[in-house]
């Protein structure tokens, strides 16, 4: 955002956008694995319980 001249965006909104951007990055960063897990859970017919999905150890 810093490269935009100030007459397009005010400094305040630039700062806000930077904040939003970094926040969304954090959300995507930590939300990616749950998202992948959710996809797997939602698209499986028998809806396995969460533990068996999460656990990397071979389930019995």
């Amino acid at each position: 955002m810093a490269y935009l001249p100030s007459f397009i965006l005010s400094d305040e909104s630039k700062e806000r956008m930077t904040k939003i951007f970094s926040l969304s990055q954090t959300v995507a960063h930590y939300g990616w694995l749950p998202f992948v897990l959710y996809l797997g859970w939602a698209h499986t017919a028998n809806r396995p319980n969460l533990f068996s999905l999460l656990s990397p150890l071979p389930s019995v």
């Binding site: 960063h29 990616w32 992948v36 897990l37 499986t44 068996s52 999905l53 071979p58």
Partner: protein, 443 residues
């Protein structure tokens, strides 16, 4: 050793009819696998599981000066992926390790394209304790196109996003790559020449493929270009049916020429040599690598990995009843009305057709022997004249664990900076520069 997630990705590509070898990035994969195999560092343990037919997970612990861990989850759509991914107990060792890539001719890959449905793969891996995230999405958009997005997200450092757009029409392969790292932009192209050389051959049976590819790269931020062009020729030895691969790469920018020759001398031995030469600085390098496979007791009933065998056998199995006609379709493309001519030809070249059958049977016998043989371990050796190093690796299966252990002996330790002025460069004996063991278990 191929990671479990990488295996899943490869199975996904196979199931969706994507030919991994038909890309410029992997044009020298065979020699790379044999010469520059990666050696694990430290101790690494991987436990993997396929919780459902579409989800896979991996937990990894590595002890490389510090203890690191990672947790990876993968979800993919697409038929048959879950059933095709085999556990470490049952997987064929050829599929679990990076080895000689056998390039199939163009016409043999056509069948897999039928019945396409869009599918996708999501992958995420989080490293601890640094909480760096690797994310990847692979989307099959159409039978010929694929979009790959890879992202390395890190809260402390800069994140990198790389996008691949790939189009594989069988004959041609194109790829655009954009990476946020240094604003790198690249274009890769690979063209497969249809086996028209069979006309020059004494043998009419053509199992060879000739590919020519090129790549162009440009880093926008550092304004540094790179380009290269490569010719690859894969064929089978006419007498023994043993496959061999030749590549010739040339980097016109820096005058780098490298040629490789890899051959599977028998079903349990492969050798590869590589000769590098720089046209400008007249520097040269000769590398040599080989791998030796060890057979276990031959398996009684290959039921567990039926799919893998089927996938490999599928083309030949289908072709068997009408093989001669199939063979000539690729020579005279689109001649539906020339059935008569074909029959004439069949009569004319009856003797050569016998020859074809004989040659093919040799090749197929060799391939079958590879599939049927129950390999238990492989030993690799690689050395390079200029670098004066020796890499040794052992990979194998022990009680359901896939184990990879290797070491690199180098003349000068790698972690010392090479440009110390008063560095004594007369270390005459080899020192281990790298050593590592990797354990992998998957259900």
């Amino acid at each position: 050793m191929i990671d479990y997630m990488q295996q899943v990705l490869r199975v996904f590509e196979t199931c969706t009819g994507w030919n991994r070898d038909n890309s410029y990035e992997n044009i020298t994969a065979t020699s790379e696998n044999l010469l520059n195999f990666s050696i694990p560092e430290g101790l690494k343990c991987q436990i993997s599981n396929s919780s459902t037919a579409h989800t896979f997970s991996t937990f990894e612990l590595s002890n490389n000066t510090v203890i690191n861990g990672s947790l990876a989850y993968l979800y993919c759509t697409g038929k048959g992926v879950g059933s095709s991914v085999s556990s470490s107990r049952t997987v064929q060792l050829q599929d679990a390790v990076e080895t000689y890539r056998q390039i199939r001719p163009l016409y043999q890959n056509r069948e897999a394209r039928k019945g396409f449905e869009p599918c996708a793969l999501w992958f995420g891996r989080m490293y601890y304790p640094s909480s760096t995230l690797e994310a990847m999405v692979v989307k099959r958009l159409s039978p010929e196109t694929q979009l790959v997005a890879k992202c390395l997200s890190s809260l402390a450092h800069t994140s990198v996003l790389t996008l691949y757009w790939q189009r594989d029409s069988g004959k041609n392969f194109q790829e655009w790559v954009v990476s946020s790292n240094e604003a790198l932009v690249g274009y890769r192209v690979l063209h497969n020449f249809v086996g028209s050389q069979s006309k020059l051959n004494t043998s009419l049976y053509n199992n060879s493929s000739l590919s020519l590819g090129a790549e162009l790269w440009f880093g926008l931020l550092n304004t540094s270009p790179a380009c290269s062009t490569t010719l690859r020729y894969c064929t089978h030895s006419a007498n023994t049916g043993k496959p061999l691969t030749l590549t010739l790469s040339w980097n016109p920018l820096f005058g780098h020429v490298s040629s490789t020759y890899s051959v599977k001398t028998s079903s349990n031995a492969t050798i590869s040599t590589k000769f590098d030469f720089n046209l400008y600085s007249i520097e040269s390098n000769l590398s040599f690598g080989c791998e030796l496979w060890r057979r276990g007791a031959s398996r009684a009933v290959p039921t567990e990995n039926a799919f893998v065998q089927d996938a490999v056998r599928a083309p030949s199995a289908q072709k068997r009843p009408t093989d001669t006609k199939d063979m000539f379709y690729h020579l005279m493309a689109g001649s539906s009305n020339s059935q008569k001519l074909l029959d004439d030809l069949n009569v004319t070249f009856a003797s050569s057709l016998h020859k074809i059958n004989r040659e093919r049977s040799i090749i197929q016998k060799f391939e079958k022997s590879l599939i049927d043989s129950n390999f238990t371990s492989v030993c690799r050796l690689s050395t390079s004249l200029r670098d004066k190093n020796l890499k040794v690796q052992w990979e194998g299966r022990y009680k359901g664990f896939l184990i990879s252990a290797g070491t690199e002996l180098a003349n000068t330790p790698l972690d010392l900076p090479a440009n110390m002025v008063d560095e004594p460069k007369t270390a005459s004996f080899f020192k281990p520069a790298k050593f590592g063991v990797q354990l992998q278990f998957s259900m």
